[in-house]
Symmetry: C2
Subunit: 305 residues, 2 copies
């Protein structure tokens, strides 16, 4: 089944200890869609300006991403400039130019309205609510957010959370949103807002998934070279939702596998700047790393001593 993603398409300028790139392809919807495209068909809703290079449009098309919902409007494309130190877990934002994204009002094309899988990537929660109004009840809705919306629009965000199936958030954001230092308590508080599954991203420490009855812990793939963490969370979400849409199953077992596929995709993405690693990635690479995750986490059950 296909996925509908609503989010940002951007041009990023990024500096890490390993180099620097100016105005390369970025944005939450871009990372998500490209990652998900390894698993299923993707329909993208976003906005770009007149300066958005045709080569990026061509790249997204080469991934079979449907761009009916990508509007090009007068003005410049959303531009983010960030810096990572040796602690690659946290970006420092140097500049944010919303540009055409500032007046973005997502319009879901009629042919996307019966989407069964929907991801509300990190945008204003009021816009996320607008998107929810424009789709019939999909089978599975996930959403992401960021610290800015937690502090500026907590009520709209809580409304979104109560209406989605899977909420994907960073560890520090989970603490911020819940007001709880302890992550188990933070998770319980967020689940009480009405979401069924909470996926907490912990960067190089992996992912925890909480629901009412159980807990799943996945490590991150330990990498020797992390070139650029930009988009890791969106790439994770793309692999996660892409796999779920592909198999058409939302059982806990499927969600656990999806978390591993998401982690696999994120681990590849950080190996190069922008989405460059995904440009050469193949599905056999993905399966091989999934098997690495299985080997890396395996231990035997024990009987009595």
């Amino acid at each position: 089944m296909s996925i509908l993603v609503v989010g940002s398409v951007a041009l990023d300028s990024v500096e890490t200890p390993f180099g620097k790139r100016e105005r390369v392809l970025g944005g939450s919807a871009t990372y998500f869609a490209t990652s998900a495209s390894f698993f299923t068909d993707v329909n993208l809703v976003a906005v770009v300006g007149e300066d958005f290079p045709q080569e990026h449009v061509d790249f997204l098309r080469s991934r079979d991403i449907d761009l009916t919902g990508l509007s090009r409007v007068p003005g410049e494309t959303f531009h983010w400039k960030g810096y990572y130190g040796y602690d690659l877990n946290e970006a420092q934002t140097l500049e944010t130019h919303l540009n055409v994204f500032q007046h973005f009002k997502p319009r879901i094309p009629p042919q996307y309205a019966d989407a069964e899988y929907l991801i509300l990537a990190n945008i204003d929660p009021e816009l996320q609510l607008e998107v929810l109004k424009q789709v019939k009840r999909p089978k599975l809705v996930a959403c992401d957010t960021m610290n800015f919306w937690i502090s500026s629009k907590p009520e709209a965000l809580k409304e979104v959370i109560s209406r989605v199936d899977i909420f994907i958030i960073n560890e520090s954001e989970a603490r911020q949103l819940s007001g709880e230092v302890n992550l188990v308590r933070a998770a319980r508080a967020i689940l009480a807002m009405g979401v069924k599954n909470l996926v907490v991203k912990r960067g190089e420490y992996g992912v925890l998934m909480f629901n009412g009855s159980s807990l799943f812990a996945a490590p991150a793939y330990p990498l020797e070279e992390v070139f650029d963490p930009t988009g890791a969370g969106d790439t994770f979400a793309g692999g996660f939702m892409g796999y779920l849409a592909n198999i058409g199953d939302t059982s806990e077992e499927a969600i656990r596998q999806a978390i591993i596929f998401g982690s696999v995709m994120a681990s590849f993405n950080v190996e190069a700047f922008s989405l460059d690693r995904l440009r050469t990635l193949t599905y056999p690479d993905i399966e091989a790393r999934y098997r690495d995750f299985k080997r890396m986490t395996h231990f035997e059950e024990v009987g009595g001593l």
Copy 2:
């Protein structure tokens, strides 16, 4: 098979956001031995002063820990005073009074000299080398250390590392010792010092085990209440070595299981001050939590999409 542990027995004064305890039972060898005693026989070599309460001796005896190697000498017992903030990952040392521990020269009783399992808990690496001279070649030797020895006695520490089978260290200490920020590179540099297995403790993020050919990632058990992290690392090491000594197997599969048992023991220990949780713990509790770890980390293999 029995384990020989050489380390500290102390009285700790600890404050955490959840309370405060004065001069309670502590010390690396104490935590290690008590934890390991759930799995196998333990022989302890350490020193205490005249003030060391008989009730603590009685407690260690009640765990069937052999105290032939525990000497009581004139003076006061090693006393550590520490504080933890809401970020319970790192202790702040307020006071360290080495007292009788300052002149501690480990003497291994003759009946311990053919110990097959040996743990060199966190003490001066020169003393760790002295211990290694006093034992015949054991089947398995593990050692722990701390940031203080990495900066003050790096050469002696590297000599120890080259002579043990398993080196257990914190994530930040692995970075400090290797001079590498990236943990995979740090691990490779430490393995190149001549140790076969490197166990990196990451606090609430679990454990990574590196050897020449593979990698194992174990999560920590997510707890709602962490009362007192003191001794978590030593309790981990006790469960880890205790299980290995119990089954008499040093295969990678056994080491992976041992890491889970160590993680289980650490997760219980932090639920109360000092070793109090271990006083009431039963082996069925341990097995039940081991099964929780199995459920928490399980995901299915996948075939081709």
